[in-house]
């Protein structure tokens, strides 16, 4: 068993979040086409040993990756989506929710909790792209806000790992307003002088990028993650030409001034721990 895969408290072990990965014994790296054995991929934290391609992973993996053993307590897991607008396209939103829950074992596209990173207590919010494209609806917005509240109550840093295609269409204006809701709650965290650290992962686009993903005091990104406001396809349709290589990737975002550090998944915990040490929380709000 790899070093970061340990027994967790309060986690549903049936949660299967490796949907990007085929079920066979080996897989091909989508970037360099190297054949990688599943066990090797696991050992390597789902990054390609040849080219460092970062496979998409779910919240369970990030919890294992970042928090000390047995320290993560999941919070607000009882929150689930309803269908306030009775939204129907080819499928109903209710059916989509049921399918997503069944397929991923998750209750929505974000999980929150309190845990320790190398001995330092933090409040965490982690997104799952596998749940309806990591889209932000009422539940994601509310969980984010409650995780901020937890950080304020305990005076511990707040960490968010983003992975999202944007606001959830099936909650229409209500999901749009989650951008306002989450950004508003972050002003309280800032008033309390509590650090907010963002870790951008592939992909982070749309309404999540245009709200809490871009409001970190410190912003980290995994290598080559797609990070942007408009999706590449929409931009191509608008400007009617091909996009340059590397456009909207982490390295592009760092080059243009929106990311502090690009961090390999293997270095994520250590880097996060350094930032937490170097950015202490003042005793009082002012």
């Amino acid at each position: 068993m790899p070093w970061w895969s340990r027994n967790r408290k309060n986690l549903d072990e049936s949660q299967n979040q490796q949907r990007e990965m085929p079920d066979g014994l080996w897989t091909k790296c989508p970037s360099c086409e190297t054949v990688i054995y599943k066990s090797e991929l696991e050992e390597n934290l789902y990054t390609c040993p040849k080219c460092d391609h970062h496979f998409r992973i779910g919240s369970n993996h990030y919890i294992d990756l970042l928090t000390d053993p047995e320290t993560f307590d999941e919070t607000h897991a009882q929150l689930t989506s309803t269908d306030p607008l009775e939204f129907v396209d080819e499928d109903s939103y209710q059916v989509k929710l049921r399918k997503a829950t069944k397929r991923t074992g998750l209750s929505d596209a974000m999980r929150t909790g309190l845990g320790q990173v190398e001995g330092k207590r933090v409040s965490l919010a982690i997104m799952d792209f596998s749940f309806i494209g990591g889209s932000m609806g009422s539940v994601v917005g509310e969980k984010f806000c409650r995780a901020v509240d937890d950080a304020i109550r305990e005076r511990v840093p707040f960490i968010c790992i983003t992975a999202s295609g944007g606001a959830r269409m099936m909650e229409a204006a209500i999901s749009l307003m989650q951008m306002a809701k989450t950004s508003t709650r972050l002003t309280l965290l800032a008033d309390e002088r509590i650090p907010y650290i963002v870790i951008l992962t592939d992909p982070t686009t749309g309404g999540v990028t245009a709200s809490y993903a871009m409001l970190g005091d410190v912003t980290l990104a995994e290598p080559r993650a797609l990070i942007g406001f408009a999706g590449p396809r929409v931009i191509e349709q608008t400007i009617k030409r091909k996009l340059p290589e590397g456009f909207q990737r982490s390295e592009f975002q760092q080059e243009h001034g929106f990311v502090d550090h690009i961090v390999h998944r293997k270095e994520l915990r250590k880097t996060l721990s350094r930032v937490l040490t170097l950015l202490p929380i003042p005793e009082t709000a002012d």
Partner: protein, 320 residues
């Protein structure tokens, strides 16, 4: 130039044309009573059409090319407007206008998205699609308002923030996110009014505050009906259904508890009688401003935070 006519406006227009034709002949002929009958008929028809507009028809009205835009309203409702330019960092985005304004003696900062009327102006205004420097200009003006205790009014009318290479390079997402954060805590009253299209984060980027009003024939949602159709139905042909599913009209947003009120438009839409539409807007703005400026700032900010905290519908009970 040919007049732009929506499908459901056509029968009304036909009768109106007939009336004006008859009027031009009424010097020679005694057809006063016939004209009167037609006038009654057209009024009845107009009423019945506009009383049962579908959501998609309202979207079409919100985009009507003759509809008053931000600068049209400014000219009609402001005693004075001193436009200010630039974000002091990169440039001046003409898709967002803003400056110092006065409405019936009340001084304020007014900011709005601006569409173009003809081909050339549409290009200059980038079809009302702002770039990051537009949002940053808006933020500069909001901060100015805060420092001088002036309330802020924003007029929302955009098909979305511009999806372009340079926009991404300069941080479209960051500029909107920053505005949301700062609008949430700006120590002065903010009134937002959707005057046309309120498309997604591009609209919200100048669209947070204490009171959200929507003109009767406008829309505000997470995505346009066309884009929603293309993503969820994988075809551009389901825009009517998408508009229904999104519940994107002023009435819908009041029902959802997101918008605070609907500003009426003249029957036939704001483009039919712009002056009348502007009068309704002006009255609503004065009322909202007078109500907000009475409140102490800490209370105002608390209410603003509570207002956004309350938006969201979810189950909060563990399933047995």
């Amino acid at each position: 130039m040919a007049k732009y006519v929506l499908e459901f406006e056509k029968p009304i227009l036909e009768i109106e044309e007939k009336i004006s034709e008859m009027r031009s002949m009424s010097d020679q002929l005694d057809i006063g009573p016939e004209i009167e009958v037609l006038e009654q008929k057209v009024e009845r028809l107009r009423k019945s059409v506009y009383e049962q507009l579908t959501r998609w028809q309202r979207v079409q009205l919100a985009r009507h090319p003759d509809r008053p835009y931000t600068l049209d309203y400014i000219a009609m409702i402001c005693d004075d407007f001193f436009e200010m330019h630039g974000d002091r960092s990169f440039g001046d985005d003409k898709a967002i206008v803003g400056g110092l304004a006065q409405i019936n003696g009340r001084k304020l900062v007014l900011i709005g998205q601006q569409k173009g009327r003809d081909t050339n102006e549409r290009k200059v205004r980038n079809f009302g699609m702002p770039n990051p420097e537009g949002y940053r200009k808006a933020l500069r003006l909001m901060k100015l308002a805060e420092r001088f205790s002036l309330p802020v009014v924003t007029l929302i009318d955009t098909p979305g923030a511009y999806p372009g290479i340079e926009a991404e390079e300069r941080g479209q997402a960051e500029s909107i996110a920053r505005n949301l954060f700062e609008m949430a805590r700006l120590k002065t009253p903010i009134v937002n009014v959707v005057i046309g299209e309120g498309a997604s984060g591009g609209a919200l980027g100048i669209g947070m505050g204490d009171t959200l009003l929507m003109l009767e024939n406008t829309w505000f949602s997470v995505i346009s009906p066309e884009s929603c159709s293309s993503i969820l139905w994988k075809s551009w042909d389901y825009k009517e259904q998408a508009a229904e599913a999104l519940r994107l009209t002023a009435g819908d947003l009041v029902e959802m508890g997101i918008a605070d009120g609907i500003i009426p438009e003249p029957i036939g839409g704001a483009h039919r009688l712009p002056k009348e539409a502007a009068d309704f807007l002006k009255t609503a703005l004065i009322q909202a401003l007078d109500q907000l400026t009475q409140q102490p700032i800490p209370q105002l900010l608390r209410q603003r935070r509570d207002r956004y905290a309350a938006i969201g519908v979810f189950n909060d009970a563990a399933v047995a």
